[in-house]
Subunit: 358 residues, 2 copies
DNA sequence: GTCAAGTGAGAAAAGGTTTTCTCATGCAAT
DNA sequence: ATTGCATGAGAAAACCTTTTCTCACTTGAC
């Protein structure tokens, strides 16, 4: 029974009987192997492979060819030790569900993979000690930079990143003085939504949204008032379907004319609202248009009818944050400040209207 | 205007005018600083800090104290170069939404952070070239191991990890011959679900589930038949709310007795089913019990009524995968094979019945 | 007073790479 | 025949640790 037990990194060269379980770094090929296989010194080999230094074209080619043939790959640890660049960055987040973090992460990764940069993901759940542990671990590993991200624009992560000796970029979370921060332009996004409702012919547009203490809630409400006027009330609540449901109940219980459109603070609220309308026999989008916010596919696309909503372009946000932290790591100049990225309207079926021409 | 531009890693010691944007690794304290501050050689300093070698207790204490005071932290790159351990592992996934990856990641991180291990997250979207790029980048960085995870138990990642010289563990994805694979015990989970329905008094239990080509679908259906018998049909479809909705329509359009319980293949299907039942005026859980699978909080908890469902304990799965890859990296013996982890019943309100005693 | 054993601490090598410096060769110009 | 210079390639240092080896000194025993 214990015969099948295996050990990784056995000292003696074990017979590989299909035991691909183990690994064992023994075999890793170094530049020494390349050099001796090509009959040159390691310095020449290094220069050949990096296209630096002076040497005969034939030598350079031969070294490169041989390196390729024997499958040489430079050890990033050794390289990083010397160059002070680990080609590694850290992504710190307190967003457990990954609603915001995942798209941001995808963008970062997308932007940096071509530069050979890998990303440490550290999920800290609003736990300062855990956060510090993760930050320390990353600093020890000589990350080239850190991107901090969260689930809310107006809150800080529970750890101080302001005096690190590596660059820090904030994405979708509150940054510090003199830092670079990327965020969505919620005002513009809200305007996009309300203008679309106007464009499809709605006039009595109500706004059902999240808790008023969210900065983005106030920004969106501000833009809503600007475009829609003050004819309909703003209903503040929580970020849940059931609040969307309840809010519709409230609105339809009031005397007087009912809204003909609902601008909802996120897709979950919108979904709750759509459900409540259906239960009242009100047709979406024929009788009432409903628009969401976030473009959380899993909610927006599965609602019946699928939700027209505002996408915060978090992937693009991540991409830019990634390129920025890379620029800082390479010592390129970057202007500090808050960068607002525009949102995008995603037209599905909950408002009526046709998608804008491509 | 350009005065505010900043450069990271400026050669000359720049005045820090609150420019916490830049970083600049200049200041990093090495063991040389510790040694000279303590008036000992670097070898003595190293031995003092690592509690190895022989030396006077007083010297050891002094070195440790001074290291703490000046904030010394060993460079993991240099350490890794020598020890062949980078205290870094890679998590490879093709699950874009993170539905399965995030809990697994949380478990891995949770288990390994205390060991000083950080995790590279690599999202490859079924793109073999991208996957290879990521794997190469991780190998170059000398990861101690790789965990492969996916969105489906019976599919491989689009990259061959079978002959790497680092250990590989599979979690929630199909592994290779002679590898270690962790997966949920879907059969046991399904049994848990159906037995619960029986326990709350249901007898005509239908099963609405995903595509039959999913291995886990067949496993769950098998367990369902075992417990519930063959009185009611199994409806195979897709993993969406609308399928859940449609399936209920189908079931209730048939002549004869209707089911008094629905065992759904995932929470989204369950949610669609609940919605369809409500539209028909059928009360959940009074008239019909509905149970889901996955315990995807965002769906299960927001459904009205909140869904009773089966949790696959993915975090625990991640934890075990993390500990296993660590064990392999350290050369400890691990038995290859597939490990099935038990699921857990999460009782909410969609079935009636009381949660089991704590 | 000599020897063996034990103690505290430092010197040096190793790990894999990049980079700077040095050296030898060959060739053209004087 | 000597000088000057361009060229190709290697030696060695550096990055930061850990670990092994060596050395000097003290102590106790004969």
């Amino acid at each position: 029974m214990t015969e099948r037990l295996v050990k990784a990194f056995l000292k003696p060269l074990q017979k590989e009987e299909g035991l691909n379980i183990s690994g064992g770094k023994r075999g890793r090929i170094t530049i020494h192997e390349v050099a001796s296989a090509a009959g040159v010194s390691i310095s020449t080999a290094s220069k050949a492979l990096n296209d630096t230094g002076r040497m005969g074209a034939e030598t350079r080619e031969r070294v490169k060819r041989i390196a390729g043939e024997i499958g040489y790959r430079p050890n990033a640890l050794a390289r990083g030790l010397l160059s002070k660049r680990s080609f590694t960055i850290g992504l710190l987040t307190n967003d457990t569900y990954g609603r915001f973090t995942l798209p941001v992460m995808a963008g970062i990764s997308d932007a940096l993979v071509d530069h050979g940069v890998s990303v440490f993901l550290c999920a800290i759940e609003d736990d300062p000690a855990l956060a510090q542990t993760h930050v320390d671990a990353m600093l020890d590993k000589q990350v080239d930079g850190i991107i901090a991200t969260g689930k809310r624009l107006d809150r800080r992560l529970p750890v101080d990143l302001s005096n690190l000796h590596v660059p820090v970029v904030y994405a979708f979370t509150e940054g510090t003085q003199n830092s670079v921060t990327f965020r969505s332009d919620d005002e513009q996004g809200a305007r996009l939504a309300v203008e679309w409702l106007v464009k499809v012919g709605r006039r009595r547009i109500a706004h059902i949204t999240g808790p008023e203490d969210f900065f983005s809630v106030r920004e969106r409400a501000g833009a809503y008032h600007e475009v829609a006027g003050h004819r309909e009330p703003v209903l503040y609540g929580v970020w849940s379907e059931s609040w969307g449901h309840d809010a519709v109940e409230q609105l339809w219980k009031r005397p007087g004319e009912k809204p003909d459109a609902l601008f909802c603070g996120n897709d979950q609220i919108a979904r709750g609202a759509v459900d409540a309308l259906r239960e009242r026999g009100i047709k979406v989008p024929q009788d009432v248009s409903v628009i969401g916010f976030d473009n959380w596919e899993i909610v927006a696309a599965q609602t019946r009818p699928p939700l027209t909503t505002v996408d915060m372009e978090l992937k693009e946000l991540g991409r830019q944050a990634g390129l920025t932290v890379l620029a800082l790591a390479e010592g390129r100049p970057v202007e500090p400040g808050v960068r607002k990225l525009p949102c995008r309207l995603v037209v599905r079926r909950s408002c009526g209207g046709k998608p804008p021409e491509e």
